[in-house]
Symmetry: none
Subunit: 111 residues, 2 copies
DNA sequence: TGCACATTCAACCAAACGGTTGACCGTTGC
DNA sequence: GCAACGGTCAACCGTTTGGTTGAATGTGCA
């Protein structure tokens, strides 16, 4: 179940959160370690991680007293796929894509 | 000069703006025509278009008294390239696209 | 000339965002 | 047992966002 595009794009709109995702690309990390390079409070980073988790861009698993953060590229893939539709390159599957667009147009709230 | 990712992703985070982009995929449109299907004021749509233009996702050209809006996929492409760094997925992954489409159509609530 | 149309401007509003601080809670280890 | 650590919660704050309304600007046309 991927999160709505709203949540995904909103999560990606913040440079701190994008930097966090880039860090997680290297390896899974604990919340404190994620926070370390940033010039802001741990609580702020904790909130950013909640936003990323709500968008399904990461998952968090608590082992002992440390909470591990893991990159979850599927949600980003969904957004990327949505964006690819605007490239207008791919000759294939335009029909399916137009069905998708139509669904979105008919129901913008949930697009 | 593509707009910063901040602006691009923030612009894409709103369902109204994504719907507008989808409409512009069909053809260039005047501001009033863009506004027509939406249940909100023309001024609100005008603001949305400014956001999209600031993100370089569209361009606006005034001919006579009507301002034409044109999709500008390059900015979106820049964001797409950034995202591709996170996925082990290709620029155009039709398989993922079709899985996404299916999920989209079966479960419009979470699309 | 003057009205109708296309669009923006300006002021305003409620809600969401991104950050802070300090208290709090569960876990670990001496 | 208890202090230190890892992380969240709660309250607060200033700014941004997404919308409204009404007035203003500029263009087209009879």
């Amino acid at each position: 179940m991927t999160a709505p595009l709203d949540a995904i794009f909103a999560a990606l709109a913040d440079p701190t959160r994008r930097a966090i995702l880039a860090m997680l690309l290297e390896d899974d990390m604990a919340v404190t370690d994620v926070a370390h390079p940033f010039a802001m409070s741990l609580a702020a980073i904790s909130k950013h991680l909640v936003v990323l988790a709500d968008a399904d861009l990461i998952t968090q698993e608590k082992r002992g007293r440390v909470k591990w953060c893991k990159l979850e590229p599927d949600a980003m893939r969904a957004a990327s796929v949505w964006m690819q539709g605007f490239g207008q390159f791919e000759p294939v599957n335009l029909e399916a894509f137009e069905r998708f667009l139509e669904a979105e147009l008919n129901d913008p709230e949930n697009a």
